[in-house]
Symmetry: C2
Subunit: 333 residues, 2 copies
């Protein structure tokens, strides 16, 4: 059965990744409508060798649409998701606007695809990139032993900040490599050969919103409000793929061999875990690929019975576009 699909935000970094995935994957497409704000409307995009013109979003854009994938920011999503849903489309939304709404399921197919079947508002939320790769890696451990607490430090690529940020970063790298002055531009500082923490801040707690998403979204996806998360989010001078150091406390002791067996059998995960031989995941090798890569699985030298591991995945793929497509495939194909 063919699916009529709309993409709102087709011209952005995630929108472009969505088109590449839809070209390559087996989701049976009926109509495909490429939508954007009036500002980006009229742009032409290639899809399967054909030129498509991006249309300005309107209520009529969603007539006859089965699934609408939104990747156009929180404000656009808050305005347009209820309209699309009222036309009968299932909205899969990449922004943070709806994620913590109790009437909106927050879905990572490897963890809780079935939660997406009950969607009283007609909206399914796609989690934050940092959360997605973490919960894919935690899920098999949580099922086996109960995750009690995770300390996570991220090493996040710039690509999630959008096409303009990618360009600014590349220009910064060029300038820094040539000893020229570096323009902070839209990155709120120099990222080339430096580290930044430039997400918006929750003043009461001192946490970045990016960090609090990992706290709250993890609990919602794994369905366990008792899970504790201690997060630090850092932007590193890497183009594609987020990396995370995870330190995990479980409800019972687990050795590295058991964790390795569980993770090797889990969906969506590729183990790269022969560290003594030099094999571990890196962002450069993860970029442009689908899996969540897990390596450096080891028994925590600082907490007997606990584990540490290293998780890397392409933030525009599994962290955004791929997860949205997998939700559509799992629920509608």
């Amino acid at each position: 059965m063919a699916i009529n699909l709309a993409i709102l935000g087709a011209t952005g970094a995630v929108g472009q990744e969505l088109l590449r995935l839809l070209e390559a994957r087996a989701l049976p497409l009926g109509e495909l409508r490429l939508l954007a704000s009036p500002r980006s409307a009229g742009r032409q995009l290639q899809f399967r060798g054909e030129t498509r013109t991006v249309q300005a979003v309107s209520p009529e854009s969603f007539e006859g649409i089965d699934v609408a994938i939104f990747s156009a920011g929180g404000g656009t999503s808050r305005e347009w998701a209820p309209i699309a849903a009222s036309k009968g489309a299932c909205v899969i939304d990449n922004s943070s606007a709806w994620r913590m709404d109790p009437e909106v399921p927050l879905v990572v197919p490897e963890c809780n695809l079935e939660a997406g079947r009950a969607r009283p508002k007609g909206i399914i939320a796609n989690p934050n990139c940092s959360t997605i790769q973490m919960v894919v890696a935690l899920k098999p451990l949580h099922d086996a032993a109960g995750v009690k607490r995770v300390v996570v430090a991220t090493y996040q690529a710039i690509s999630g900040a959008g096409a303009r940020a990618i360009e600014a970063f590349q220009e910064q790298c060029r300038a820094a490599a040539n000893g020229e002055a570096v323009d902070p531009g839209p990155l709120k500082g120099q990222l080339a050969q430096n580290l930044l923490m430039h997400w918006s801040v929750d003043e009461a707690s001192g946490y970045q919103e990016e960090e609090l998403k990992m706290v709250h979204e993890t609990r919602k996806i794994l369905g366990d409000e008792s899970i504790q998360v201690s997060p630090t989010a850092v932007r590193v001078p890497v183009l594609h793929a987020h990396s995370e150091s995870l330190t995990i406390e479980l409800g019972r002791p687990m050795d590295a061999a058991e964790a390795r067996t569980l993770l090797a059998a889990a969906p969506g995960i590729t183990l790269v875990d022969d560290f003594a031989a030099g094999a571990y995941p890196t962002p450069l090798t993860a970029a442009g690929t689908d899996p969540v890569y897990v390596g450096r699985i080891r028994e925590d030298v600082g907490n007997p019975g606990g584990l540490q591991m290293w998780v890397v995945s392409d933030n525009l793929r599994k962290g955004a576009a791929l997860n949205a497509v997998q939700i559509a495939e799992g629920l509608f194909a």
Copy 2:
């Protein structure tokens, strides 16, 4: 009273930093002997406007020397430190060769300068760069409330890997920024726009030696074998200054305000901690300066009563050369 000082490894990255520090600081110098392996002997270095010739190390090099700072690798140190000590010099050694020897004090002046006065082998060890900045930040919290456990994820600059690695990294950055093929060279992979974990591995535990140093050296410096450390060490594409995400469990609850007060009053620390206003430490601003910078001090959302913070310091300065000079100043000046 003037001090006769020898530097073994004067031509390396840390050796060069030592000379810059000695030029600028108040340590009263008598004779200064610049020493190196026969391979580097004969090279000429500038010091306070004069040209000095580096001499090949020999037993006679240490006659009449009060303090010998070694920065020439573990093998050289194992061979030459006992010889220098037998000539009456106090060896301050930057390598890992002697750090865990129970008869060799491991000293960070802000933490345990007095331990350096008892040195049965005539040797004082300078800790690992990652450890030094961490213990400077932990010390005031440990004194006030007892550090029970630290989860640390590092974001380490390349400069600690030496002059050849710095050159290789800069060439990688140039190639990557220009879209050319990147030579892995001596870095064991591409570090430009990527992350590496390329330290030697302890096969039994799966930890990098760099990580285990943080476990064992922290206990020795803070004088508390019960402190637990869960470490992850990552090389990031940054030239100078290491950054660390610390998640700290204490013997009693401590709020962020108390931690801030303690850290602001502690020696060697500069707070950069107005995160809502965009102020936090970065490697780019720490490079070439002396302090251990601490910011993002916050109450751990994942462990009530615990803390999280972000610690940045120049790994060639406080992480190596400066700490060695401070030991000499504290004990001999």
